[in-house]
C-alpha cells in the first residue's frame, strides 16, 4: 500500500484545495489586510486558491529537503503568500547561508587582491 510521491503530492494538493473551498466565504472579512494594499499588482494576482496550492507545494519541498516533519507546518504557516511563492520558485537555488568562515575559496582571495590593488572597483558610488 505504498503510495508514490506523485500520488501523495496530488492528494495533498487536492485536499488542501478542497478544504479551502469550504471556508473561503466563511473567513471573508470586510476589513482588508494592509498587506493587500501595499503589494504590487502582480503579487495581488495570486488568488487565494493559488496560494493554497503553493502552500502544498512548499510543504512537499520542505519534506524533500529533509525538514523535520513536526516543523513543516510551523514553517509553512509563518510564510505569507509572497514568501510562499518565493520559496516554491527558488528553494533549490536561492542563497543558503551555511558554510563556515574558513572555507574561503582561492578565487575569492583573488577577487580581494584585485579590489585591494584597484584593478576592479565594486564600490563606485552609484
Amino acid at each position: 500500500m505504498r503510495l508514490s510521491l506523485w500520488r501523495k503530492t496530488s492528494i495533498a494538493i487536492l485536499s488542501v484545495a478542497m478544504l479551502n473551498l469550504g471556508f473561503v466565504s466563511a473567513t471573508q472579512a470586510a476589513i482588508v489586510d494592509t498587506s493587500a494594499l501595499v503589494t504590487t499588482d502582480r503579487e495581488a494576482d495570486l488568488s487565494t486558491v493559488r496560494a493554497q496550492l503553493t502552500r502544498a507545494e512548499v510543504r512537499a519541498k520542505f519534506e524533500e529537503m529533509g525538514v523535520d516533519a513536526t516543523a513543516i507546518d510551523r514553517r509553512v504557516a509563518q510564510l505569507n503568500d509572497r514568501e510562499l511563492h518565493q520559496m516554491a520558485v527558488d528553494i533549490q537555488n536561492a542563497p543558503a547561508g551555511g558554510d563556515v568562515v574558513w572555507l574561503i575559496g582561492a578565487v575569492f582571495i583573488v577577487l580581494i587582491i584585485l579590489e585591494l590593488t584597484g584593478v576592479i572597483d565594486i564600490f563606485k558610488k552609484t
Binding site: 494592509t34 520559496m87 528553494i91 551555511g98 585591494l116
Partner: protein, 335 residues
C-alpha cells in the same frame, strides 16, 4: 557545464592577477574613512550584542539568534534550527530569515544595498545581519554573520561570525564578500522602531507582513511610528486604523481611515475599511458614501471581494434602519 565554466573563469582571473601580485603596486587607501561624511563618528562597537558560536553549517540560526536577542527577544540558535535550517541545502534561506522574527513579535527589514545604511544602523545601536559570499557568483559559498561595529582608523568591520566572538574584517574584504552576496543586509526591529535609512514603501511592506501575525497592540506601534515619520503615507494611517479596529477601538479606527481617505481619495482599501467601521458604528449611510466612489471592477481579487461584501452589508443595514445613529462625524486623526 556551469562548474567547468567557473573553473575556466577562475583560472583566467588567477592568471590575470599574477602580474599585479608581483608588482604589488597601487594598494588602495582606507575604505571606511573615504566613504564617511566629514565629521561622522569614527568607530562604533556594540559590545553588548550576544554571541552564539555556530555549529557546522548553522550560521543562519546563530546569526538570527544574535540579532533577535540583541532586540530583546528570548531565543537560542537551537530554537531556530527547526525554523530556518534546510538540511538538504546545508544552510538557511533569506526568506525564512526574514519571516522568523515575526514569531518573536519583531519586524524584519532589508536595508538598501549600500555601506551608509549599515553604518547608520550601527550608529543607531542596531547590529546588522549580513549575507556574505566567499566564492564567485557562479560558485558561491554563502555565510551569514552579524556586523556589530566598525573602526575607521583601522579600516575594519567588527563581526560576530561563525565560531568567532569578535571577528575583525578589513573593510574592503568585507565589502567584496558582501557585494558578491547581492549586498543583502537585514535588521530586526522591535515594534515602533524604524531603520535610520528606511524608505516608506519597504518599511510599510515589512509592517504589513508583521501585521498578519501580530497582536493589534504591536501592529499599532509599528504603524504609529510610520505615521510620525511619514504622515503623508496613506498606508501608514490604514495600518494604524486596522490595528485600532482589531483592538475594538472603532472610533479611533474611523478617524485613522478618514485621514487616509483625505490624503488619497482614490484609495479603495481605505474607503472599504472606513465604510466597514462606519457600518459597525451604526452609520450605514455614511458608509455608503465611502463606497459609492469605488470602481470595484478595477480592483484586484481580495479587495474587490471585500468591497462587494461590505456593500451588501451596508445596503442590508440601510434597509433595516430609518436613519444613521446620532453621532456619525469622525474628525480626521492628527498625527
Amino acid at each position: 557545464m556551469r562548474k567547468r565554466a567557473a573553473t575556466v573563469a577562475a583560472r583566467f582571473v588567477f592568471l590575470l592577477s599574477i602580474p599585479l601580485l608581483l608588482s604589488a603596486c597601487a594598494a588602495r587607501g582606507p575604505f571606511i574613512a573615504a566613504s564617511m561624511a566629514p565629521g561622522a563618528r569614527t568607530s562604533v562597537e556594540l559590545d553588548a550584542t550576544p554571541f552564539f558560536p555556530q555549529d557546522k553549517y548553522q550560521c543562519g540560526p546563530a546569526a538570527l539568534a544574535t540579532a533577535l536577542v540583541a532586540s530583546e527577544a528570548t531565543t537560542t540558535p537551537e530554537d531556530l534550527v527547526p525554523l530556518v535550517y534546510l538540511p538538504a541545502r546545508k544552510g538557511s534561506l533569506q526568506v525564512e530569515m526574514l519571516a522568523t522574527p515575526r514569531k518573536f513579535e519583531r519586524l524584519s527589514y532589508v536595508l538598501s544595498p549600500n555601506f551608509d545604511s549599515i553604518v547608520a544602523e550601527l550608529n543607531a545601536g542596531r547590529p546588522v545581519l549580513v549575507l556574505h559570499n566567499y566564492g564567485l557568483p557562479t560558485w558561491p559559498k554563502w555565510h551569514y554573520a552579524v556586523v556589530i561595529g566598525y573602526d575607521s582608523a583601522r579600516d575594519r568591520f567588527i563581526l560576530r561570525s561563525g565560531t568567532k566572538r569578535r571577528d575583525e574584517w578589513r573593510a574592503r574584504t568585507f565589502m567584496v564578500a558582501w557585494h558578491h552576496a547581492h549586498r543583502w543586509a537585514m535588521v530586526v526591529l522591535r515594534p515602533g522602531e524604524i531603520p535610520v535609512t528606511a524608505d516608506p514603501r519597504s518599511y510599510l511592506q515589512a509592517a504589513a507582513d508583521f501585521e498578519r501575525a501580530a497582536k493589534p497592540e504591536a501592529a499599532l506601534l509599528a504603524f504609529d511610528a510610520a505615521i510620525k515619520r511619514w504622515p503623508a503615507e496613506p498606508v501608514a494611517w490604514i495600518g494604524r486604523g486596522t490595528a485600532q479596529y482589531r483592538a475594538g477601538k472603532l472610533t479611533e479606527a474611523a478617524r485613522d481611515y478618514a485621514a487616509a481617505v483625505s490624503i488619497d481619495a482614490n484609495n479603495a482599501g481605505a474607503r472599504n475599511n472606513y465604510a466597514q467601521t462606519l457600518l459597525e458604528l451604526g452609520c450605514p449611510r455614511r458608509a455608503r458614501e465611502q463606497l459609492s466612489s469605488i470602481d470595484a471592477a478595477a480592483l484586484q481579487t481580495p479587495l474587490r471581494e471585500a468591497v462587494s461584501d461590505t456593500r451588501l452589508h451596508v445596503d442590508a443595514a440601510i434597509s433595516a434602519t430609518t436613519a444613521d445613529s446620532a453621532e456619525c462625524t469622525f474628525p480626521v486623526s492628527g498625527s
